[in-house]
């Protein structure tokens, strides 16, 4: 057995309905799905978020797309237009969930999340006229 962050094994997306956040976890394949069904229980997710979630956490299994869906009640400081939080719509809760470390069988121990390759972004920004470390002028200007 090994310990891995969910990030090495799963995708995620989260959103809001009132003061309830929905956080979905997408397994890379069936093996990963079987592991997260066993490991990522509602209670575990509740513990992970701690004081960020005031209410209960409910888990739904969605085997046809190898996903788990978590409903987090009282997770958004009162809900979008009422909340004082920066992330009043729960957009970042998916990323926060995949920080969770779980036990995985040895066959998954070497799994790693792909690393971003944003060469295209550097290329776009490289076309701008750099006048200082954080100061650039539009393309073509001198």
């Amino acid at each position: 057995m090994a310990r891995l962050r969910l990030h090495e094994l799963c995708g995620y997306r989260s959103g809001d309905k009132g003061d309830v956040a929905d956080v979905a976890l997408f397994a890379d394949d069936q093996t990963v799905y079987d592991v997260i069904v066993r490991e990522v229980t509602a209670a575990r997710v509740r513990d992970h978020f701690g004081a960020m979630v005031a209410g209960e956490v409910v888990r739904y299994e969605v085997p046809n797309v190898l996903a788990l869906n978590f409903v987090l009640r009282g997770a958004l400081g009162g809900g979008g237009p009422r909340s004082l939080r920066s992330d009043a719509l729960g957009k970042t809760l998916g990323g926060a969930l995949v920080r969770l470390e779980i036990e995985v069988p040895d066959e998954l121990a070497d799994r790693r999340a792909p690393r971003p390759d944003i060469g295209w972004a550097h290329e776009i920004l490289g076309h701008l006229h750099r006048v200082a470390p954080t100061s650039v002028l539009p393309r073509g200007s001198r």
Partner: protein, 453 residues
């Protein structure tokens, strides 16, 4: 016969530019979803200032692109851009058509979702309990600023049957905008639950525009083609409910099993019982086949009978908020930011200002992740303290913000106040109250009006 429906808008403020790509690719119906939960609150403030407002004001931008295609008989438009004033939105649609020199377009409005003026009467007939908290309607903290029911696809289908080219609704279930043309074209019965569920699932996949076509994708997000040219999604739907989710050919983006499943569960509670006005859809029953070439086939969706209620959303005043930010750099950035927050809170108390709630976040430490962020000994190169507060009135909320300004010269070293919005003007907070209301109490008030312009 296959019907092509497209999701051309995902929220009020989305870009109308993606519509051009959808129209160029050819779609039978262009559906524009403009209303998030709190959008009606924004529109309510608009209408208070001007009786002719209360709809999403970017509607003419969308119609300017779409109406020439509508007039040529190549597409029809369905939108909930009417907000809390569909009649005014229809007038704007007519004006847009005239400006473009187009005639013969039939514009329909759907009314009856707005419960605001008859809320007290409704409360005598049905509990209007808060779905999230269980609180009784009598505990609503202040008068409702708006109250509206999420209508289904039926009135839209009625409008299409009357020959409407453009259908403008107020609040309705987002996915119903997409189900309606499928019911109309394929003649699905209102108790053909599997077909209705398939249509709702298609609508759910299209209602958030770019999110199905490579936007907001986790995992390998950087591999999405030309993300600055992200297309919006199209569904090709057969009479039996089989659908292929795809995108305009000449565009960036991606439609794959992964992009589709990301959207499938977005803002869904129980995927096996997705409650909509027209059907209860079982998203776990669907089969998704990635056909390659940006095409994903959806089959086998199961549905069951709709409930006897509509979801409704009430919105009420909930106080005033202010927010301020102050940034610190290394060394000891996090400690300085924490100390500055404490000094600020103490100063506000000394000034005798009453704050009902504080929110203190350290950006660069754990502002977004909270307790999920592992403890680390690494020193962040910079940290922003963001402090937000809630007060009973706007004046107090503004005075609290003033207490942040002096920290520039009288707090831990080198704090930069006025970051970002700085001590921004106070904003009104709104509480939302999700509830249920019997269809029988709403349907008699729903009406469809079609006018040729």
């Amino acid at each position: 016969m296959t019907v092509r429906v497209a999701g051309g808008q995902g929220f009020y403020g989305d870009t109308p530019r993606a519509v051009e790509g959808l129209l160029a690719d050819g779609v039978d119906y262009l559906c524009l979803e403009a209303l998030a939960e709190l959008t009606l609150a924004i529109l309510q403030k608009d209408r208070q200032k001007d009786e002719t407002r209360g709809f999403t004001r970017d509607l003419p931008l969308y119609l300017a692109a779409a109406l020439p295609e509508v007039a040529a008989g190549r597409t029809r438009v369905i939108t909930n851009a009417g907000g809390i004033n569909p009649t005014a939105a229809a007038r704007v649609a007519a004006a847009t058509a005239r400006e473009l020199g187009l005639t013969g377009i039939r514009v329909a409005t759907v009314l009856g979702d707005d419960l605001t003026t008859r809320l007290e009467a409704l409360a005598r007939e049905t509990p209007l309990t808060n779905l999230d908290t269980g609180a009784a309607f009598t505990e609503l903290p202040s008068a409702a600023l708006f109250a509206s029911a999420y209508l289904g696809a039926r009135p839209i289908v009625e409008a299409l049957a009357q020959g409407a080219d453009v259908v403008i609704t107020g609040r309705c279930a987002d996915a119903a905008l997409f189900l309606a043309p499928l019911v109309h074209e394929h003649g699905w019965a209102w108790d053909d639950w599997d077909r209705l569920a398939a249509g709702m699932l298609v609508g759910h996949l299209l209602e958030c525009s770019g999110q199905t076509a490579g936007g907001n994708l986790s995992r390998d997000w950087w591999t999405v083609a030309r993300p600055w040219d992200l297309p919006y999604p199209i569904a090709e739907v057969d009479p039996d409910g089989t659908a292929v989710i795809t995108k305009p050919r000449a565009s960036g983006g991606r439609v794959s099993f992964d992009t589709v499943r990301h959207q499938l569960l977005y803002e869904v509670h129980d995927p096996a019982r997705y409650l909509t006005p027209d059907v209860v859809a079982d998203f776990t029953s669907a089969r998704f086949d990635d056909l390659g070439d940006d095409r994903v086939r959806v089959t086998g969706v199961r549905g069951s009978a709709a409930t006897a209620t509509y979801k409704a959303l009430l919105c009420h005043h909930a106080g005033w908020a202010g927010e301020a930010r102050v940034a610190f750099s290394w060394p000891d950035a996090a400690e300085k930011a924490t100390a500055a927050s404490a000094i600020f809170v103490e100063r506000v108390e000394q000034a005798g200002l009453t704050v009902d709630e504080w929110c203190i976040e350290l950006w660069g430490v754990d502002a977004l992740g909270g307790p999920t962020v592992p403890g680390t000994s690494a020193e962040p190169p910079e940290v922003v303290a963001r402090v937000a507060w809630r007060c009973a009135d706007a004046t107090t909320a503004g005075l609290v913000g003033r207490e942040m300004v002096p920290l520039t010269l009288s707090a831990p070293p080198a704090g930069m106040t006025g970051m970002g919005r700085g001590a921004a003007r106070p904003t009104e907070l709104l509480g939302i109250w999700p509830t249920l209301v019997e269809k029988a109490l709403v349907d008699p008030h729903v009406s469809v009006h079609v006018e040729q312009v």
